[in-house]
């Protein structure tokens, strides 16, 4: 038996949340267990923000998962989530919070975080050639240090392991974490801007 082939198809002109959910589900299709879960679903699920009007509708089908913005009129379940905390569920409409559909969708939206070193390497692989990126990215986690690339200019990013994993994998927003102080940086304002763009690239398109 071959693995099910499921593609994630985004709406035309996707919103930031559609891109984020699309990237998360697309990552799932590259993991056999997640792919099996995706292929087992046939329902329509709405995921909406607890804080603002952002919402997406996910339609799970036999060969494709469609993601579009807004709230469908016919969802099987509506998950109200905290977008700043990896889709943490605030409330569930249409099903019990521990219903299999809910837990499966959450499992797909909250994939295991990569180790911060792996996340950093993938981040660098995807963004290091973008205009304005530093020649060297130094990621510091407590006593550990990972140097990516080489030469000047250099950019230093430091934080706790989980925060680094979340930001560098596109799960959390780089600028938000810099503003709140959970991520420290050393470099120029110009590089901050470029790194913010690189973070968005990973968040939306990885």
């Amino acid at each position: 038996m071959t693995d099910p082939a499921v593609s994630v198809v985004l709406e035309d002109d996707p919103t930031p949340l559609v891109l984020t959910v699309g990237r998360t589900l697309r990552a799932g299709t590259r993991d056999p267990e997640s792919l099996r879960l995706i292929a087992s679903l046939r329902e329509t699920v709405v995921v909406k923000s607890k804080d603002d009007p952002q919402a997406v509708t996910i339609r799970f089908g036999e060969i494709q998962v469609g993601v579009g913005h807004g709230i469908a009129s016919d969802p099987h379940v509506v998950l109200t989530v905290d977008l700043t905390d990896r889709f943490a569920v605030e409330s569930v409409d249409g099903a019990e919070p521990d219903a299999p559909l809910v837990t499966t969708v959450l499992r797909l939206l909250q994939p295991p975080l990569p180790h911060w070193r792996d996340a950093a390497s993938r981040f660098w692989e995807m963004t290091s050639r973008d205009p304005g990126m530093p020649r060297e990215l130094v990621v510091v986690c407590e006593e550990e240090e990972l140097v990516l690339g080489g030469g000047l200019p250099r950019y230093v990013l430091s934080g706790e392991a989980e925060k680094l994993s979340r930001v560098l994998s596109g799960t959390d927003v780089f600028l938000d974490e810099v503003y709140t102080g959970s991520l420290a940086v050393r470099g120029t304002m110009t590089q901050l801007s470029v790194m913010a763009g690189a973070s968005l690239k990973v968040r939306f398109h990885a």
Partner: protein
């Protein structure tokens, strides 16, 4: 331009000078300096933190893209005053417009006035001088700006009532008082206004200023809007240049362009578009889709693109056809021109005019022929006709994919602009905007007062 600045300042008893420029968002920005500071800064320029080009309309720093060399950690850029624009703005106060330069003496690539000057120069190198007139539309309200702010810019009362449509003359005295005061202020400032009147929606007005060279026309546009705001404030009113502030008709900034050569209208031919007009038009049409990002810069700009409501929705041009994106007026040695009908009232005219002229230059250089003229109504068409991008992100994507317009305008300006448009898209979706409803509070708060 005064020959002796010190004498001019003394003669007019100037005690402060407002130095003015324009940022990417289209707002008039600047500061007030003493006459002594003004004369001492004429050679060196006046320092502004580069954040003048780095904040969005919500006052947040724009990030997420590579910055050009002149942007650093709040580095200084310098506004150099163009003394040909020096006027006595009000008793004791002068006003002068300028462009932004970096510390090494290079023009800041993202300065809209610089960009327009570059395009004007390109035309001059080809032997042409553009004549431009911009239609300025806005909506005036009975409420003061303070009342508008307190109401979240919602539920306001259009000045002049809600009855009727364009051109009505049976307007109440409060409306007449506002319009006459604006016209008188323009006259005092030496801005040659030609006409004003009632426009399509409630409280909507239009001012027409005489044609001028591109940079002067854009300066007129910026100053006229400043006057419209100041008069509204003086009279306890408020005014908005939002492309669409409610469900009524939106508001535009149509741009009329012709080229002159040796004092003659190069667009004129007795049988229709001249060869010059044809090629200029060919370039304008070839770049119309990517230029949309400049013509419709904000989230709300795209709400105006409604079929049958006036704004063009398809990529078409036609002779005397006001349903197309570009209307060619032909057969008149004086009036032959192109009317570029895409821009909203919220467009930065320095920038969009630079884009139009850049398209024209590309057309002249490449001898680009336009598509066939469109004679039918260009709204509500069946599938197949190319459409004008209908969201900020689609327009940005079209500009990102373009090489023709970018090749003339400059990659640095285009890249920086695209970065700011991505930021605007991101802010709308992640800080309270809703794409599935009518005009949102987010848009009213962001766009009512600025640009």
């Amino acid at each position: 331009m005064p020959e002796n600045i010190d004498a001019w300042l003394a003669e007019h008893r100037i005690d402060s000078v407002r130095i003015e420029g324009t940022n990417l968002e289209g707002s008039f920005i600047g500061k007030n300096v003493s006459p002594r500071k003004f004369t001492s800064g004429l050679k060196s320029g006046f320092a502004f933190a580069d954040v003048a080009f780095g904040l969005d309309l919500g006052n947040a720093p724009q990030f997420g893209f590579a910055m050009p060399s002149w942007r650093g950690d709040l580095a200084d850029i310098f506004l150099h005053a163009d003394l040909s624009t020096l006027v006595e703005w009000s008793p004791g106060r002068a006003s002068v417009i300028g462009g932004f330069w970096d510390p090494d003496g290079n023009p800041v690539s993202a300065c809209p006035r610089n960009a327009l000057q570059r395009m004007t120069k390109l035309l001059a190198e080809r032997g042409y001088e553009a004549k431009v007139a911009v239609e300025i539309e806005a909506t005036v309200f009975e409420e003061s700006i303070q009342e508008a702010r307190n109401k979240g810019y919602r539920g306001l009362t259009p000045l002049g009532g809600s009855a009727g449509s364009a051109y009505h003359l049976a307007k109440s005295k409060d409306w007449e008082d506002y319009m006459l005061a604006v016209a008188r202020r323009l006259e005092e400032l030496g801005i040659p206004w030609e006409a004003w009147g009632d426009e399509a929606a409630s409280g909507q007005i239009e001012f027409n200023v005489a044609p001028a060279d591109p940079v002067t026309a854009a300066d007129y546009w910026a100053r006229t809007r400043q006057v419209m705001r100041e008069v509204a404030f003086e009279q306890g009113r408020c005014v908005t240049f939002m492309a669409k502030w409610c469900d009524e008709y939106g508001q535009a900034s149509h741009i009329n362009v012709s080229l002159e050569r040796d004092g003659e209208n190069a667009f004129y031919d007795e049988f229709g578009p001249s060869q010059v007009m044809t090629h200029f038009l060919g370039g304008v049409m070839a770049t119309l889709i990517p230029a949309t990002s400049f013509a419709l810069p904000a989230i709300t700009s795209y709400r105006r693109l409604q079929e049958l409501e006036g704004p063009p929705t398809t990529v078409a041009w036609g002779v005397a056809n006001k349903s197309t994106a570009v209307r060619a007026v032909v057969g008149h040695p004086k009036y032959s021109r192109l009317e570029y009908r895409t821009p909203g009232a919220d467009a930065n005219i320095y920038l969009v005019l630079a884009a139009v002229l850049a398209g024209g230059v590309a057309g002249l250089d490449g001898k680009i022929d336009p598509p066939e003229p469109f004679d039918d109504m260009a709204w509500c068409l069946p599938p197949g006709m190319p459409k004008i991008p209908n969201t900020i992100s689609k327009a940005a994507e079209a500009l990102r994919a373009d090489t023709l317009l970018t090749g003339v305008l400059g990659q640095e300006l285009v890249d920086y602009w695209l970065g700011t448009r991505q930021w605007e898209w991101l802010q709308f979706h992640t800080t309270g905007g809703d794409p599935d409803t009518g005009l949102t509070e987010w848009e009213s708060n962001r766009y009512f007062e600025l640009p």
